[in-house]
């Protein structure tokens, strides 16, 4: 148990002890206690490969002293050690230069508590027998075994318990508790040639009874076998569909570009874009941080600031940046939130039609390349220029022709999101970022 025990009370007392010590020295502070517990069982080819138990705890101490700032952490929670650590931390902070923007947030921004439970905790985590966990990984592994192409099969079960407690010098005090249960299957398959094709699948749930693990192994296996006999494709402009499981890769440059920190440092291609239409009219991004039972949902961010529903891009227009209290003062802009909690894309399909997933999107787009994974690459945050390696399938007439190999996509984030043609309705239910499959037109693919 990491919560509600004597040990936990001692740890929260430690947080209070450090806060009082620092306040006595004339400083303000925010103390965050993070605890985590993970249990892992991993099978390789039907045999237990790895058993692991992890218990973590750490105290993070953020000190604000006369507009100076320091960020410290330790997992040594004995009071004698802590006092010495806090004393050294304060001394280090006092050597930093003054920055008028460094201070705790304005108190009226704090979360005030008493909202309904977000449905992120399952107490059955304490009672699930080890035998049941083993049954699950064994079932996943068994579902891959016996296939004639299989080289190796791995399955893994993890359960997580995360606890966070925050206390600061302005009276903010709150805690959160989350559970997570996940399973994964990974396989390597081969059809005679040297190449072995790897594939994996992952399922997750915040409540054990909702963990949908039955098809995990089969999904990994089928996706691996589908990669056999890939062929290089000619360079050119193609329609591109990105499957839901990897679509966040093209969303993250947009989210990063809205970061107050990067905007203030002029290190974002979206700096100076507030109120301007940058992306296609069919592009709308929202953050819905209070969705019940979602992994990223939260009532307060790491500063204790209350989260709220927010549209950060509306019909292609930049409505909001992600601004915490520090960058609010630096940029002279109102605080929004440090980062999105449960971002989702709410895009209109121009045709008025609805598409469930990649299959329907392929039918709509006719020809192109379905991207099912990324292989490296990067995006230049200052310019929005990107180049990513991809894996996936060439499709024509709405159906898959063959897997592709050694291909890149190259372009700019702004032009990419001006070429959004259609979206699916299939965000993964467990994902923190609710991004469905996406279809784009006119994308530069580099092949042979």
């Amino acid at each position: 148990m990491i919560y509600g025990t004597e040990e936990n009370r001692n740890e929260t007392e430690c947080a209070g002890f450090v806060l009082k010590y620092l306040e006595k020295q004339g400083a303000q502070a925010r103390i965050t206690l993070n605890k985590g517990c993970i249990n892992t069982i991993c099978l390789l080819n039907g045999k237990t490969d790895r058993l692991q138990m992890s218990n973590d705890r750490a105290l993070t101490i953020q000190i604000y002293h006369k507009n100076r700032y320091g960020n410290f952490s330790t997992n040594r929670l004995e009071k004698g050690e802590l006092e010495k650590f806090a004393e050294n931390a304060l001394r280090a902070t006092m050597l930093v230069e003054e920055d008028p923007a460094r201070a705790l947030p304005e108190k009226e921004l704090y979360y005030r508590g008493e909202n309904r439970d977000l449905g992120q905790f399952d107490s059955s985590i304490f009672t699930i027998p080890d035998e049941r966990k083993k049954e699950i990984v064994l079932e996943i592994c068994s579902s891959m075994e016996g296939n004639r192409y299989l080289v190796s099969a791995e399955s893994e079960y993890n359960d997580y318990l995360d606890y966070q407690y925050i206390i600061d010098s302005q009276g903010f005090e709150a805690h959160s508790l989350q559970t997570d249960f996940d399973v994964s299957a990974q396989c390597s398959v081969r059809n005679g040639a040297d190449a072995r094709y790897e594939s994996s699948w992952y399922e997750s749930a915040m409540h054990f009874r909702k963990l949908d693990y039955k098809r995990c192994g089969i999904e990994a296996l089928e996706r691996g076998i589908a990669k056999f006999n890939p062929a290089k494709v000619m360079s050119g402009k193609y329609n591109m569909i990105i499957e839901n499981c990897c679509a966040s890769r093209v969303v993250s440059p947009v989210i990063n570009g809205l970061s107050g920190s990067l905007v203030q440092q002029k290190n974002s291609f979206l700096a100076g874009s507030l109120g301007k239409r940058v992306f296609g009219k069919n592009v709308t991004f929202k953050d819905r941080p209070h969705r019940y039972g979602m992994a990223g949902s939260r009532y307060f961010d790491s500063e204790g600031i209350a989260t709220k529903e927010m549209t950060f891009i509306e019909n292609g227009i930049i409505n909001n940046y992600f601004i915490d209290s520090y960058y609010s003062r630096k940029l002279n802009m109102p605080v929004t939130v440090e980062s999105p909690s449960v971002p989702e894309i709410v895009c209109r399909n121009e045709s008025g039609n609805e598409f469930r997933g990649p299959r329907e999107l392929m039918r709509e787009m006719g020809n192109g390349i379905l991207v099912t994974g990324f292989n490296g690459g990067n995006c230049n945050g200052a310019t929005g220029d990107f180049s990513y390696g991809i894996e996936g399938f060439l499709f024509s007439g709405g159906t898959i022709i063959h897997p592709v190999r050694e291909m890149n996509i190259t372009g700019n984030v702004v032009s990419l999101w001006n070429n959004l043609a259609a979206v699916g309705k299939d965000p993964l239910k467990w994902a923190k970022w609710q991004i469905p499959s996406l279809a784009f037109e006119n994308i530069n693919f580099n092949g042979k």
Binding site: R196, K232, A271, N378, R405, N444, G447
Partner: protein, 471 residues
Amino acid sequence: MQESFASLFGVTCSQLQKLISIAMEEGGEYADIFFEYTTANELSLRDNRINRAGSHIDYGVGIRVIKGEQTGYAYSETTAMPQMEKAARFAAKIASSGKTLSMPAALRKIEGNDFYPMKRDLESFGIEEKLPFLELLDRRIFELERRCTKVRATINDSLSKIMFFNSYGEFYTDTRPLVSVVGSATFEHDGRLESAGASKSFRAGAEILSGPLIEELARAIAAKGAFLFQARQPAGGEMPVVMAAGSSGILLHEAVGHAFEADFVRKGTSIFSDRLGMQICDKSITIVDDATLAANRGSLNYDDEGIPGQRTCLVEKGRLNSFMHDRISAKYYNTAPTGNGRRESFRYMPIPRMRATYMENGEFSREEIIAGVRKGIYATDFSNGQVQIGAGDFSFYVKSGYIIENGKLTAPVKDINIIGNGPQALGEISMVGNDRTIDNSTWTCGKGQYCPVSCGMPTVLVKRLVVGGLT
């Protein structure tokens, strides 16, 4: 046992022996205990002022039990005996039968080297001494490139104290320093933004920070910023690629390095699984993974399972000579461990990982190699890479370079991804330069857990790779 370390972790020899006995009591074949006390400091500059200090302590012990190829692992963030005994009991569960082996009564120190002696210790290296370096870096970038509008810089230093003990009665202690300076800047010209960065990192004491090192970084960042205003994304497609000496070592790391890690080989998932002893590329190519380079970010006196740091020749004159082994894979292949058993911290079990991976020199000059290309890319500055171990497809990102036309460097290029197939790319290296350079940037390898590494390369010509670009 070194008294100062035993006292640091508050344990005695008899307690360690008791923990090993508990770990082995279910029939484990091998057990080890890995103590770690890491202090990491950071000091950051933004908007022309030192605006953030930080210090982080990570303390704990990991206990591992091996039975065949199976591993039980648990860790504790305190070194009180009840918590360590609980961890040992959990790890022991991996074995459920078998004879309980007794450990030797006599302890034996594992002999190692000292690849990172500290002339100026890090524990007394205070903020006042670091400040001037950050201020100098900030000032010099602004002086060198008038289009600079923002500079961000950080000095990170850490010191890890390690104590290791295993069921063979072997032990070692090690003190691992790591010092890094990371700088980046934003440049603005006619409303256009560009961002460039560079870093230096060493396993060394505070003596490594110097005015010349900061000047080298400042010049690199300013030059990259200026370069980017001239550069464009080129036309993409399949073409010859000349990899500049130094950070192009990421080609080795991604294209073949991971596939030589013996855990992937043991599971049969590596594309090189069946090719040990075979000629896999031209005889001019020798590839090494090395823990013995002085002050190198990837160097280790001992790996994290008690094997002395060593140099491992992976490919010798084109022949696949060795994989990178930890204890489990070495036992499986009936060979000696190569000192590649590494872990991010006591929270992780060791697995085969790279250290400093580089290619040895060949015979050609850089100019000769470029002159041999009619139309291609000369790639000079690299960042992240990735590989699919089984299929062998790898990629890495080129931050800057040049187009080669008729043997001459012409237009500057930037922001392109290069993708290829590892065994094929290795087979298509047709010229190897004589200018091998080890790149001392802050390379960090991710394989479920992070480890500091480095890489190096002479200039090489790869006859054919897919270059990202516009069409």
